[in-house]
């Protein structure tokens, strides 16, 4: 009997085109829009490219040999190229600056000056380069005035600048901030599984739908019906999330880390949390279907917002300013589970998320079950 109920429930849900749209097509569409609007690569955009700067090619510049040499060495093509220089006259340089073709204009006279149009990192680097030149000149004067004999070795040492930093990383994962949008999107899709949970409740409660009334008359044990319904909802939503995941991974190329089984586990637990949330709303909120639907949409949107769907920093802000909120928000837990799998080598934080999701789902199931169990109807 159980499998019979399950099969027909599955067919019923599967044919509900509207809910399939919201739980499957809509997340895929939103993911595509995210991808088209800002892509998934953060790092590519932050990459260092040689800064284009104009130098006013006057007598003072040509006469200042050390400075000219420094500029030339910085703009030498290769891996360590810092500048792309345009040597030109003053008017042309100003025109280039105005139209935004160069980040800044370097002018040599008695002193060396920089002209920019806006404050930004490229302009700051240009300034730092010019500062560097001034600082080196100052070091030379101050040391040679103290210790004139050093001159013989000093200049050789001056050319021998050393590097004092070395790139390291905590784990193999690159800090691609934008992938978090897609994690929050999966969290939203998981929370949308609640639509299936809610439909199940509506179709089983006699006071909410004709189907519910008819099914309550059937001699099948209610717990069997509830479990079969729940399993059907879970199967559909899990299948949908897996489709979404495959789409994100294979079509859009979003990285999830390498732990495939844990990724699936997160999806599965996420679906359980979503379906149980739908059951919870369906049983706890008193009112008609549209009210329940409205609350469900509002609540899942609010949770997804706090999980960083609209603004990726939100999740981090919540977890630092109001940590409790991120421990009870299933959407934040789901997206944090994905994030932990992606960025950390250890799985401690991942399992904390999963455990909390299990606890929240259990509580929501328990509440809805006790509500459903105790129902008696004097009249419908």
């Amino acid at each position: 009997m159980f499998w019979h109920v399950f099969l027909y429930r599955f067919k019923c849900l599967f044919r509900d085109k509207e809910t399939v749209f919201w739980t499957l097509i809509f997340p895929i569409l939103l993911a595509t829009l995210f991808y088209l609007a800002f892509g998934h690569l953060t790092i590519e955009k932050e990459k260092f490219n040689p800064i284009v700067a104009a130098v006013v090619n006057n007598g003072a510049y040509q006469g200042n040999i050390p400075f000219k040499r420094m500029m030339e060495s910085l703009s030498e093509e290769g891996d360590s190229q810092v500048l792309t220089l345009i040597l030109t006259n003053k008017e042309e340089a100003e025109a280039l600056l105005k139209e935004g073709a160069v980040s800044g204009v370097i002018t040599v006279s008695d002193t060396i000056g920089l002209t920019v149009k806006e404050s930004g990192i490229n302009q700051s680097i240009l300034k730092a380069i010019l500062d560097d030149y001034g600082q080196t000149a100052k070091v030379i004067t101050s040391i040679l005035s103290e210790n004139p004999e050093a001159a013989a070795f000093f200049f050789e040492e001056l050319g021998n600048q050393r590097n004092y930093t070395e790139q390291a990383s905590f784990s193999g994962a690159a800090p691609e901030t934008n992938v978090a949008y897609f994690y929050a999107l999966i969290a939203m899709a998981c929370m949308y599984s609640a639509f299936w949970g809610l439909r199940n409740i509506i179709d089983i409660q006699p006071d909410l739908s004709a189907t519910g009334a008819r099914r309550s008359l059937a001699p099948t044990h209610k717990i069997k019906v509830i479990l079969a319904d729940g399993l059907a909802a879970l199967s559909i939503s899990f299948a949908e999330i897996v489709i979404l995941l495959v789409f994100l991974r294979l079509v859009l190329g979003i990285s999830f880390g390498d732990c495939f089984r844990f990724i699936l586990l997160t999806c599965f637990i996420g679906c359980i949390a979503g379906v149980s949330f739908g059951n919870f709303i369906g049983t706890v909120i008193r009112g008609n279907e549209s009210l329940k639907n409205g609350i469900l949409i509002g609540a899942s949107m609010a949770m997804s917002f706090l999980a960083g769907l609209m603004w990726v920093d939100m999740k981090n802000i919540v977890s630092s300013k109001a940590p409790v909120l991120s421990y009870i928000n299933p959407a934040a837990l789901i997206s944090d589970a994905f994030y932990s799998l992606y960025i950390f080598d250890t799985h401690k934080r991942f399992f904390i998320n999963i455990a909390l999701l299990c606890v929240i789902s259990t509580v929501m199931y328990a509440v809805s079950f006790t509500r459903l169990r105790g129902e008696k109807y004097a009249s419908i």
């Binding site: 149009k117 806006e118 404050s119 070091v139 040391i143 905590f170 784990s171 960025i343």
Partner: protein, 393 residues
């Protein structure tokens, strides 16, 4: 004017989704304009990259002066020496550079062993280069002083090096005279108006259209002594007043929220013209959807797909500058792209010269052309439909 009166009775049924859309919009607009960085443009300000320094070497003189030196050029954010929270911070760009000073760094440095600071950054990023420059400069200068300087003590040696580093190149700002207002909160507000206009106007107009297009009701209306033309005209007046009302509410919202900055800018007529044109476009789309869609669930789907799709692709939520070239070239076929382009042009307006104004009007005209095409398509399609209906009879 029976039809006109009924129009707003039907509209009342969509009051809840309309208010929700308005509420979401105002919420987003206020939130985003509150967090949008305001760039001051009067003077040059070097970028203060946020960095975290993890000191595992203890409070040696060298390390302390180094951290103080970094603090002059960057924004130091203090984080505990905890891998997880540092990784979180870098991922969300709370810090863009993590410098870990290993134990024994100072001793190794003094004995000229070239120790290194471990940096954890977005690999090969601009900010990583920028911070590297200062770190290398600091230690190279101290090294030169320790090798060739004649300072009596370590303290004096470091102080001499820091004195040499105290150089501030003169930077001149060439501004166009008026601050760049792309980052003004009202500029964001008007950009988000695109989403609000689409969502609200499409919801309202298509709801009324669905009601009037319901087959039985439509057939009954055809029997009425009112001419089809008359009914159509009254509906059109209803659509126009509704769209104007939505636009008016959003304009009023901008006056209330940003009036103080907005009125002196002199940009209101341009913003108003741009948003009004987009309202007409939205009305056209609402009209088109109302003609196609039969029930409210399909309507909700269509509205979300269109409003979110147009907003994302047109650059409402994510600035056009950030979007990729191929996407933008496709987005040119969307009115929202031109709306945002015009909005950016208005916000960045430095002078009311005829050629700049001309280019803004051009962008607005393109939107108007979109609206015209959409209306024509809808009318052609609806004519075909009525034709089919008469066939049925």
């Amino acid at each position: 004017m029976q039809v006109f009166k009924v129009y707003f009775k039907v509209m009342r049924g969509s009051a809840v989704p309309l208010v929700i859309n308005l509420g979401i919009f105002l919420g987003i607009a206020i939130l985003f304009s509150a967090v949008a960085p305001k760039v001051s443009v009067a003077n040059f300000e070097a970028t203060k990259t946020p960095i975290a320094v993890v000191n595992r070497d203890g409070n040696t003189e060298l390390v302390q002066s180094f951290i103080n030196y970094l603090g002059r050029s960057y924004r130091l954010v203090s984080y505990p020496d905890n891998e997880e929270s540092l990784q979180d911070a870098l991922f969300y760009r709370d810090v863009e550079y993590i410098a870990i000073i290993p134990p024994g760094f100072s001793d190794a440095f003094i004995s000229d062993k070239d120790p290194v600071i471990k940096k954890i950054t977005v690999p090969d990023s601009v900010s990583s280069h920028y911070v590297d420059m200062h770190i290398d400069k600091f230690f190279n200068t101290v090294r030169l002083h320790s090798l060739y300087g004649k300072a009596e003590s370590k303290t004096k040696m470091i102080a001499a090096a820091i004195a040499d580093l105290d150089i501030d190149t003169q930077v001149t700002m060439r501004t166009s005279g008026k601050p760049d207002s792309l980052n003004e909160p009202y500029s964001h507000y008007y950009a988000y108006c695109a989403y609000a206009l689409l969502a609200m106007i499409i919801t309202g107009i298509s709801s009324v259209m669905i009601t009037f297009n319901e087959l039985n009701l439509h057939m009954r209306n055809l029997c009425a002594p009112l001419s089809k033309r008359n009914i159509g005209l009254q509906l059109a007046i209803g659509h126009s007043i509704f769209a104007l009302g939505c636009w008016g509410i959003l304009m009023l919202g901008s006056f209330i929220l940003y009036g103080r900055d907005l009125f002196p800018s002199g940009l209101i007529p341009l913003y108003a013209f741009n948003t009004l044109t987009f309202a007409v476009v939205s009305a056209g789309i609402g009209f088109l959807i109302g003609g196609f869609v039969r029930n409210s669930s399909a309507q909700a789907g269509a509205i979300n797909v269109i409003a979110l799709g147009m907003s994302f692709l047109g650059g409402v939520f994510v600035p056009q500058q950030v979007m990729g070239e191929p996407v933008l070239s496709v987005a040119k076929f969307l009115p929202s792209y031109w709306f945002i382009k015009a909005n950016n042009a208005i916000s960045g307006l430095s002078a009311f010269t005829p050629d700049i104004l001309g280019s803004i009007y051009h962008m607005i005209l393109i939107q108007a052309a979109f609206a015209g095409v959409i209306f024509v398509i809808t009318l052609l399609l609806s004519d075909r439909k009525t034709g089919l209906l008469s066939h049925c009879r």
